[in-house]
């Protein structure tokens, strides 16, 4: 069934990619190259993982054997965000289905449609009742789902207050939750990235500019760039030149690199944060205002890719903006970089860029985040665990360990002895 779902997604990849672009505003070059192929691959990964799953048998003594089976939880509630509607659905649904559960899925209020197009494509491949999609206002439907005593587990991606509410409701029903609640991910560039003018330097510059990926509406947006003091000017010159070349416009044009924010609210929030940054004393290195695209996109929710230079105590360094806004600062040495990187409430993602393998390992282990991209960023392969430290959440996705979040262990403790215990 999971492989059939993956095949159906592949067969309708272009339609789903265009739908997803229309739904969210993200450029179709991203949905064609990332969102949709990754969604299909996710179902294949969990199809393989569950096929290969083995459990354990413990020979407690010569006549007593403990058999362990994984059993599904039942009906799970899954609440997904607006930034990757189809990919986040795949991240949640594939492990839930693989482990044998049914899902009641609540899409984000701003993005109710693309998931329904996916359901048109895969609906007939699933037994009735396995996938249930409920659209509507979170205030009514979200709570009704999260607090429903017939739901066996809730998985949520979103912000912290809703995350806490979901834990509250889960406490009342004594059910487990997994949460992914965002981040303020540091992206650290050590001086040796500038040791040569080569492909690696080019890759590192692109690694900084990836803050604008999906118009910054990514939980792991590398929204804090930490650059070693003595390369700051040279490295930022290259990065700003690359940022100035970002093409913004019609999301359905395959040359477009960045589309509009998902909603007027998000646009207002991004603008407001840039103003807060200015008021805090941050310097605007590029961008800093709404982008006027004109033509049929006049008045669209476009915001210019923006870079703010400041220091890590500023709100624009501490709070998730969820827009194409990078906060950049400098560090002296490795210890300073680690201290700044960890001076945040969050711990979802991080990036480390260096030609020194030992340093890459040391710094990666020292950063308190669930995913440290090392000499890369924004790659999301199935098979690499993803999830948060600190207030960024509980649990891991995109790895077979997720099957444990969607199942429980049945132990059959079997005696092969015919003798009584002798107590009575």
């Amino acid at each position: 069934m999971l492989n059939a779902v993956a095949d159906a997604i592949d067969a309708h990849a272009e339609m789903l990619a265009v739908t997803e672009s229309c739904e969210n505003g993200k450029p179709v070059r991203e949905t064609l190259a990332a969102d949709i192929p990754l969604a299909a691959d996710h179902f294949r990964y969990f199809a393989a993982a569950i096929r290969a799953e083995e459990t354990t048998i413990t020979e407690v003594d010569k006549d007593l054997v403990a058999y362990h089976f994984r059993e599904p939880l039942g009906v799970v509630g899954q609440i997904i965000p607006f930034n990757f509607p189809l990919l986040m659905a795949a991240w949640k649904l594939a492990p839930a289905f693989a482990a044998g559960n049914c899902s009641v899925l609540k899409p984000a209020s701003p993005t109710p449609w693309s998931i329904l197009k996916l359901a048109e494509v895969i609906g007939d491949l699933l037994p009735p009742g396995v996938l249930n999609i409920v659209n509507g206002a979170g205030g009514e439907i979200g709570k009704a789902l999260a607090a429903n005593p017939r739901i066996a587990k809730v998985a949520f991606t979103g912000e912290t207050v809703t995350g806490r509410l979901i834990m509250q409701y889960a406490a009342q029903n004594l059910i487990p939750v997994t949460l992914e609640l965002g981040g303020k991910s540091p992206n650290i560039f050590f001086r040796d990235v500038m040791a040569a003018s080569d492909d690696f330097l080019d890759k590192a510059v692109e690694g900084l500019v990836l803050y604008a990926f999906n118009k910054g509406e990514v939980c792991t947006c590398p929204s804090r760039a930490l650059i070693q003091q003595d390369i700051y000017e040279d490295f930022m010159d290259r990065a700003l030149a690359r940022i100035a070349m970002i093409r913004q416009g019609n999301p359905l044009d395959t040359e477009t690199m960045i589309g509009p924010q998902v909603s007027a609210q998000q646009l207002a929030k991004v603008s407001s944060y840039v103003d807060i940054g200015r008021a805090e004393g941050a310097e605007v290195l590029i961008g800093g205002q709404r982008a006027e695209i004109g033509g049929e996109f006049a008045g669209g929710y476009f915001y210019q890719p923006t870079v703010l230079k400041g220091h890590n105590k500023m709100r624009v360094f501490q709070e998730e903006i969820f827009g194409p806004v990078l906060a950049v600062t400098t560090f002296r040495d490795e210890a300073d970089a680690i201290e700044i990187a960890n001076d945040t409430l969050y711990g979802l993602g991080a990036g480390v860029w260096t030609r020194d393998g030992s340093r890459a390992f040391r710094v990666g282990r020292a950063i308190k985040a669930g995913r440290v991209w090392t000499n890369c960023y924004h790659q999301y392969p199935a098979g690499a665990a993803f999830g948060g430290y600190k207030i960024s959440g509980i649990g891991r996705e995109t790895h077979k360990m997720m099957l444990e979040h969607y199942s429980q262990t049945k132990n059959l403790l079997v005696s092969y002895s015919t003798k009584p215990l002798g107590f009575f």
Binding site: P81, G142, T162, S263, A268, S272, K313, M314
Partner: protein
């Protein structure tokens, strides 16, 4: 709901951010004053009348729908020792996580309403409207 959240438990982060007084430090600066625009007050009165009960506000953070005030029926959201009550508006308390509040400098915060549906599990401010929080120094552009 706790009557007061003014003295959260000590946290290592508070000492670490020594360059800035913590909202939670007993000896630190006073929390920001919170007020509301006439539109926000009217929305609260309407919601209270329609629902027949009191409300509460909690400032959110993090991914997606973060950074907006969420509005719930009073008592819906369990506050704890790390939640700071900034004040009340029309009798409704406004909370923020003290750890998030540490990097806020604003002396005055203003609850307002803006177009767009509410986020998360929040109640809306009215048809097609949601609550927003503005710093007095930084009004939201275009609204």
């Amino acid at each position: 709901m706790p009557a007061s959240n003014a003295t959260p438990a000590p946290r290592p982060a508070a000492a670490h951010r020594s360059g800035r007084a913590s909202a939670a430090d007993p000896g630190g600066r006073q929390p920001a004053r919170i007020s509301a625009t006439p539109a926000a007050r009217q929305a609260i009165r309407r919601l209270r009348a329609a629902r027949g009960g009191a409300l509460m506000f909690v400032q959110s953070a993090g991914c997606c729908a973060g950074s907006v005030p969420m509005c719930f029926p009073a008592g819906e959201y369990l506050t704890g020792g790390n939640d700071l009550m900034l004040g009340t508006i029309e009798g409704c308390p406004f909370y923020i996580d003290a750890r998030i509040y540490q990097s806020w400098d604003d002396a005055e915060l203003i609850l307002d309403v803006a177009p767009g549906d509410p986020e998360g599990f929040s109640l809306g401010a009215g048809p097609g409207e949601h609550f927003v929080l503005r710093a007095s120094a930084c009004p939201l552009p275009g609204t």
